[in-house]
Symmetry: C2
Subunit: 345 residues, 2 copies
Amino acid sequence: MTRELYSLRSTRIAVAALCLWILTIASAFGQTAAPLPSWSDGPAKLAIVEFVRATTDKASPKFVPPEQRIATFDQDGTLWVEHPMYTQVMYCLDQVPALVKAKPELKGVEPFKTVLSGDHKAIAALPLPELEKILAATLSGMTVSEFNDQVTKWIAVAKHPRYKRLYTELVYQPMLEVLEYLRANGFKTYIVTGGGQDFVRTYSERVYGIPPEQVIGSAGGTKYGYDKNGRPTLTKEPKLLLNDNDAGKAEGIHLVIGRRPYLAFGNSTGDQQMLEYTQAGDGARLMLLVLHDDATREYAYGPANGLPPTKVGTFTEALMDEAKKKGWTVVSMKNDWRRIFPFDK
Amino acid sequence: MTRELYSLRSTRIAVAALCLWILTIASAFGQTAAPLPSWSDGPAKLAIVEFVRATTDKASPKFVPPEQRIATFDQDGTLWVEHPMYTQVMYCLDQVPALVKAKPELKGVEPFKTVLSGDHKAIAALPLPELEKILAATLSGMTVSEFNDQVTKWIAVAKHPRYKRLYTELVYQPMLEVLEYLRANGFKTYIVTGGGQDFVRTYSERVYGIPPEQVIGSAGGTKYGYDKNGRPTLTKEPKLLLNDNDAGKAEGIHLVIGRRPYLAFGNSTGDQQMLEYTQAGDGARLMLLVLHDDATREYAYGPANGLPPTKVGTFTEALMDEAKKKGWTVVSMKNDWRRIFPFDK
């Protein structure tokens, strides 16, 4: 081999090896350029970017070791649309015909009778204790694997009454970006939802990139047993183990994670204790609330917007006062989000 | 620059870049050479190595995607010494004097009176319901952060009566190697213990490399509230949410993880349902039980060794029959482990 050839060859090897190294490093550290493209430049976006910088820069006094980087997100109204009714309640209502077919004695009994009538106004007017009867009847009694199959089937076809799209399409693009941005910076992202843990786990990985073990939600007990072939089963029981709302969110975080989050994102009074609990830790903590103030692209509702309270995600005036007093970041859908849904242009 | 120098320089760059690349790749994929050095060559070691190969080799029909790789481990008697009594029970007994000081009315009341007497035989003879009174009294009533501090202090100094070493030194070296080997191959390792979740979480990361959020254990409820400065607190309640023994292990795995493990490791009847539940999944599943048959280096106990049942980790003859029938791997401490503790030569 001539010296020229040798030199050329080793230069090529150097370049190839450097490229490989750069590619490996780049894929290991994730993309960091221009985060949160669907967020308008403003105090909310700035607060998130600055929080990530402060907690991940080793030179920062607020640096947080990677294993402690926990971020928790409410789901309904925070990650996806909760109006006019929680998606899981829609699911439960849709299960009533099959339930009554299996248990005909329920046909003439309220609240099942009203649901079967198909009278939307009467269904929407059902009081909470009546709704809870429907939830208990449609969320327990089957094995966890049967339940998983039922939800998976339903969520693949059921559509939102206004948008005529799958519920899983109605996730907020800016929030998907926050989840991705935090994960690229070493945060473990958790859902902490008042909704059913088993329900959300059926789609959380596919829709949010959040694995089932990072979904905390309201959870009933299960009972271990065996099917007719002697195969172990877990059957969903009507007994509530964790009511993952209000104080239950802080309790659920302790039960499942055992660490205090550094960032918590919610949108209603049901998230207040999760935000308080997050803020009570030392160092950098970021607490955020989504305000639904965009009647055109999504919805505007609740007392914080000067509108009457609704059955879903109550953002009260008292919560708004609390947010101001405690320095929580209020995210205006109208002003802070340039784009709402992944399908928006 | 002369051609020779240029050639030398680019060769050096090539070598440096290649080294960096190799280092990056190597650290990303973990060490794979000569796994499980403290295990004797034999069917148990072979079963583990073959399981890891089958589940991680993309060409294998039993390949498991990384996000589904879940492995669950009992703690007492599986990861560390459980004889003559569970470490957590030792902790609770040691808290009794402070408890009685705070609540003098308990001084003359059983079982606290017996514990205060210091009569080891009488303490060891306390029946389970009496022990449970001590557990309830010493594991609830304080905030989770006070409890965390108390356990952290105790475990840093309390010593095992036979080995005169910290309990956290009495972990099994072969099991630390299994945990590390599985993690290097993309498995998420969980502790699933009948012991207290909050207790084990105080040291699990340091001792086993298992973060608090991957510890499932028996768990009491907590109550959210505020201290006198208005700071949020979680107070440990005597109410049991999850009894993480027997069927409770499968139920706890569903509650916290929501996926079925591919590998489960236990040592007693309390782990039987966890192993059954693991085996009931499709594809490659590995179920293992530690048999305590080494009276010289550790302990030999239980009916599976032809010895009487003890208060800890019962490995019954029925469980041994079950293991044989179902093809579960029984790990003999005496024969399969060349070394027991990290401090052994």
